[in-house]
Symmetry: C2
Subunit: 199 residues, 2 copies
């Protein structure tokens, strides 16, 4: 819109570049920041600079890390024979909350998406293959999202890794626990039927 | 949630303090910033610091301003006899878009809201009265939002200013009641300005 004076418009434009922040939100946040005591606004600015300076990617699994390795890769009690492949660092947090998994992770930093022009070469796929070769990995769990991009990525990785003689598994799709058969969409319910197991 | 390592969590917490940014959005924005080239993230941080350093409040009307006076108060062609009272600087932009108004503004920086503990003493009401006394103001247009807080503020100001012998007007309804000045289209808002009536 460009209706404000210099630095205010610059701030609104910068905020508007953030994901999920539209022009109106950017304006609202900008005025909120202008009304804030300077030290509070400065704390936000500092936290951005500080995070960028101190946080980088784990050189082994590409999770976020302070220093060379992330906390999961530093943890010697973790089982290096099983690697759980996820799209983003936040997915690790979701898996960790289950307390079901004690292996290591590998973060692709995205998923294959032809529409957005993201191919395997933009993801940490090569690094995953190097790890599989160098570490004594026995099972790769494909825990990409159960949507089009995530499924395509899982298929691609399965085709790539299976010929190497490793066990490759995919997290199950099905009805959410506590859910209702009546309200399930047909794709999910179909997948739940397909993946049925003996009781 | 506090599940991330030091600086990342600090960043998420700071982002989560912004209006309209919930925990999930804060996390999404934080990871977006971590993925961004350092100079892009730095540009956002700098724009915050820069805006805080260079932008302050107009000493006359309390709009945002670089320097002592805002662009409307500096503009000598503006009619100082008519003052349009609004809640926030963004409301000035909305009024300007109508191209119906050539007077000056006064920004209250909020509205009376007992629920949020905001009384007239928290707004720029005293400064408005001083202006009315010192400048040769003939008409005060109350252009606070047509919602409960804005109406209450308009009533309060009308009771305060009318006894001083000034013409006090309120923008007409035409704006949907319960709505927000910021989101009004210019035709509706123009009609509302045009049809203002004495309180």
């Amino acid at each position: 819109m460009g209706v404000y004076e210099g630095p205010v418009q610059v701030l609104i434009d910068e905020l508007g570049r953030l994901p999920g922040v539209g022009p109106k939100s950017a304006q609202r946040i900008a005025f909120h920041l202008l009304k804030l005591p300077t030290e509070d606004a400065r704390r936000l600015a500092d936290s951005i600079i500080d995070a960028k300076a101190r946080v980088s990617w784990c050189t082994r699994c590409f999770n976020i890390a302070e220093g060379d390795l992330c906390s999961y890769c530093r943890d010697e009690r973790r089982d290096g024979a099983v690697v759980c492949v996820v799209e983003e660092p936040r997915d690790i947090v979701a898996v960790e909350r289950t307390a079901e998994f004690r292996g290591r992770y590998h973060v692709l930093q995205g998923a294959i998406s032809p529409i957005e022009g993201i191919g395997p070469e933009h993801l940490r796929v090569r690094e995953l293959l190097v790890r599989i070769g160098a570490e004594s990995v026995e099972e790769v769990i494909l825990a990409t999202n159960p949507n089009i991009e995530g499924e395509a990525t899982a298929m691609y990785l399965a085709n790539l890794i299976k010929p190497l003689g490793l066990k490759v598994t995919r997290i199950a799709s099905g009805l959410p626990v506590g859910g209702d058969l009546e309200y399930a969409d047909e794709v999910t319910l179909g997948r739940a039927l397909e993946g049925r197991r003996e009781v």
